[in-house]
Structures are given as C-alpha cells and as structure tokens.
C-alpha cells in the first residue's frame, strides 16, 4: 500500500499540491515536479549539502526529508531566497550573499553554490555580523570540490561588514 497521496505545502510563498508516493524525497519533488532546479543532488544521502533548503525557516537537507512529512510546511529554495520583486526598484535582484560570492570569487562550477547561498543567508538572518569562526562552522556542512572555502567565507564576512557599516551610518545620521 504505497499509493500516491496528496500533500499540500507552500514553496517560495506559493501554495502547491503534489500527489506522490511516500518515498519521494523533497529534493526530487522540487526539481522534477516544480521545476525548481536550484537545490542540487550531489550525494543523495546527506553528506554534501548541495540540496539545502529552508523548511519552516530552518535549514534542512532536501534529500533527507520526505515530501509527505511536509504537509502544511513552508519550504524556501534558493530561487526564493530573495522574495520576488523585493530587489531595488521592486525588481528581481540578487541576494547580497549572491552578489558577494560573485565579487569574492566564492564559486567556480556553481554546483554547491545554491546550498552555500541558503546557508549563508540563513546565518546572516539570525546573526547579521557573525565572526569568521561562526561562518566557517556554518559552512562546514557545504562541500565544495573546486574553488575551496576562502572566497565563500570572505563573501559572507563582506556582507556582514556592509551590514555593520550601514548600521553605523544610520546611527551617525540619527
């Protein structure tokens, strides 16, 4: 009795209903049914972190979650890391972490990048100005096999420094 069943969840703010077998993994639902190919399948058993998504606002590995577990849940993928239309001038823009990764050479082939973006964005939402150790600890679960981690860490710290700078500016203006 592994008959397909209906699951309702919200993905990047959009309510969706999918009919699936219990064995379907969240990452496959996202990629193959919803066309959200940002979460990548690196290892398929929770080692690499390339499939990172947020479930109810908290980071998770989409290959270690069954979609049937998520009835009523809110899922955010890298495609929704910046809510649509929330960029400058109401347009679709890049998240500051994405801009910084590009500027600091924090990616090469890009396979691990979506997981890195989500992990870093989640960290910065919790702690706007983390220290380098915290950044490294958080990124430890995201495996990169080409460019290494120095550029990634630099990028996250650059966003943190910008936040701190603009906070100071605002405080100075006030």
């Amino acid at each position: 009795m592994t008959a397909p069943r209906a699951v309702q969840l919200t993905v990047n703010g959009r309510p969706v209903e999918v009919v699936l077998e219990p064995r379907e993994l969240l990452v496959d639902t996202l990629r193959d049914r919803l066309g959200l190919t940002g979460a990548h399948v690196g290892c398929g058993h929770g080692s690499c972190g390339a499939c990172a998504v947020l479930v109810d606002g908290v980071g998770a590995r989409a290959c270690l979650v069954l979609t049937v577990q998520l009835e009523g849940a809110q899922v955010t993928t890298v495609e929704g890391v910046l809510p649509a239309g929330s960029g400058p001038d109401g347009g679709d823009d890049l998240h500051p972490v994405q801009v910084a990764l590009s500027r600091c050479h924090g990616l090469q082939c890009g396979f691990c990048t979506p997981g890195v973006v989500l992990t870093a964005a989640e960290l910065l939402a919790e702690q706007p100005c983390p220290d380098e150790r915290t950044v490294r600890e958080r990124l430890a679960g995201q495996l990169c096999r080409c460019t290494g981690y120095a550029g990634m860490v630099e990028a996250v710290l650059a966003v943190a420094a910008e936040t701190a700078g603009s906070d100071r500016e605002r405080a100075g203006d006030g």
Binding site: M1, E21, R23, D32, V68, E71, G141
Partner: protein, 323 residues
C-alpha cells in the same frame, strides 16, 4: 528495444536512458524511475499509542523521527522498511521539562534545540555538548535525541553522552511502558534491545544535586563527521570540594558506548593533579581493547581515547568547580 522498460536499478543509468529514448511520455515519467528509496508506506502517527500500534502491526515497520540517520540508509536501499511511522506530528513528544524529580527529554527533541537548552546544560552538560557535535547544523536542525539513541551507531556522540549522564530510557510498546538504562538498550552496533513495536519515547536524566560539570571531546577527520573517537565525561563535586562522582564513556572504541572505569579513581580527590590524570590515562590504556580497522589501528584508538578522556575530565571538572 529502446522503448522497453528499464530494469537496471541504477538511477543514473535510468536517467541517461530516459534522455536517450526521449519522447514526452518518457520525460513525464522520469521522476518515477529516478526515485532512490525502495517503495514503502507512510503513516504520520497522531500519538504514541497510534505509533506503537502501527509499528506492531507491520513486521517491516520503522519509526521515523528526524530521519537524518535512517533516510541516508533508506536512500541507499541499505534499509528497506515497508512502513515508516512518522513521529514528527506527535504533540509534546519533543518536550524538555522537569517532571517527577528528573529531567525529561522527549524523544523527538531536536539536537539543535538541545545543544543550547538551559535545562540540559544544567543537568546533563555532556549531553548538551554531544548534541552540538552531531553533523552540520542542517542535520542537527532535524535530528532528534531519541533517533540518535535508537540508531545506536557505535561512533555516535549522543548514546555515549547519555550513558555518561546516567540517563534512563523510557520505552513504550504494546505491553505497556518500561524504563531501562542506556547500556541495557544499546546491545551492539546498530542493535538495541527494543522489541518489535517498541518505541523510545523519552530519556530521563537525574537532576544535578552537587556541583555538576560535563564535557564531550572528540576527534573527527572532518567537522560534522562521526568521530573516530569521542569521550563524554561528567564530574560531580560535593559541598566539601571533593569529587563525589566522575564518569567517562567512549564512543568509537567498541561496538557500543564503552564506559571507562579509570575515572572512578578520582572519587574523593579535591583537585585534578597532573599525577592523578597520568594515572587515569594509564588505567584507560590498560582497560581498553579497541577495534582495529581501515580508519585507525587499535593502538591509535587507545592513545586517542587516553588523550580525549583527560581532556573531557578536565573540561567537566573545570565546569563543576566553577559553578
């Protein structure tokens, strides 16, 4: 021939095959052949009795808590459950509270919440530290205390720390409820004394009466990996400033958490002298007979356990003395 159903159980091959044969109907079905786990049924239990009934009714059933240990195995088809009983929807099963003179930690309490939980930090500091060392953050966000314990990986931090903290495990089955210590529950590598249909529902930790300190020290090749060796230690210091209890349990040396007898020599000590620590280290080396495998020799494991035991004892002692 190209249109024949693909029978090779290699997702990559099937994916490649689906690209070769093409055709819109093939593309639509691609996800069906790209699944990783073997088929199973799923039920989200609404309460503990319902979970126990579901587990007892089906021989191939497995309980699903955070899924961070079970789903990797299911994805690789190393484990093929016929039914997964999801405990994630059971209200209150993740509760952490003082109840009946013990610290009650519900089975589905997430490790991420436990690592910084003030009650756990006070009454079972070694367990809180162990929780913070499991996997990367995204795994701890979903992994649970009960799941880590019942998975019984010989290198896992949580079962060793629970044993060092003298935890009792609450188990519910068709015949009712029972309680047993961790070393009666974990009987081997990935083997527990849980009967068919039985479920770990909570862990009960003794409340700290004396000044209590705890620490977990480990060596892992990469941050977030299972450690090669880990040592959990808790130290209790009485009102007169003397040690009234020192425990240490190692993971990664045997097929289950291995309690170390050596720290008992510290009972009655008023301080942690270098000589006493040397004696403990020597005794640890003498009492251990670690496994030897491709990752490390028995000698290396023994030496690592000696070093980590000392570090954990010092950490636990300092915390106890400082409080």
């Amino acid at each position: 021939m190209l249109g024949a159903p693909c029978r090779i159980h290699n997702p990559l091959f099937n994916y490649a095959a689906s690209r070769i044969v093409g055709g819109p109907e093939r593309v639509d079905q691609r996800w069906q052949r790209f699944v990783k786990p073997a088929a199973f049924d799923y039920v989200a239990a609404s309460d503990v009795p319902a979970a126990v009934r579901a587990l007892a009714a089906s021989p191939g059933a497995r309980a699903l808590a955070g899924g961070q240990a079970l789903l990797p195995l299911v994805n690789q088809r190393a484990v093929r459950p016929t039914l997964l009983v999801d405990l994630g929807r059971i209200d209150g099963l993740d509760r952490v509270e003082i109840r009946g003179g013990t610290l009650h930690v519900g089975a589905t309490a997430r490790l991420r919440a436990l690592q910084a939980h003030p009650l756990l930090r006070t009454h079972a500091p070694a367990v809180a530290e162990a929780a913070g060392l499991v996997g990367p953050v995204h795994v701890r966000n979903r992994a649970t205390l009960g799941g880590s314990l019942a998975h019984a990986d010989p290198a896992a931090e949580v079962p060793a720390a629970l044993l060092a903290a003298r935890a009792m495990v609450r188990i519910v089955g068709s015949d009712g409820e029972r309680t047993c210590p961790v070393d009666e529950l974990v009987v081997g590598a990935h083997r527990t004394a849980l009967g068919h249909g039985e479920l770990v529902v909570a862990v009960e930790l003794p409340l700290a009466t004396d000044r209590l300190g705890g620490a977990f020290r480990e060596f892992a090749v990469r941050t977030g990996d299972l450690p090669l060796i880990g040592v959990a230690s808790q130290v209790r210091i009485g009102e007169d400033g003397r040690c009234v209890g020192a425990t240490a349990v190692a993971c990664g040396v045997a097929d289950r958490p291995r309690p170390l007898a050596a720290p008992q020599a510290l009972h009655g000590a008023a301080s942690l002298s270098a000589a006493a620590l040397r004696d403990v280290a020597a005794a640890v080396g003498a009492e251990l007979d670690p496994v030897s495998d491709a990752r490390a020799s028995a000698d290396y494991r023994r030496e690592l356990t000696q070093v980590l035991t000392i570090e954990a004892l010092v950490g636990a002692w300092r915390m106890a003395a400082g409080s």
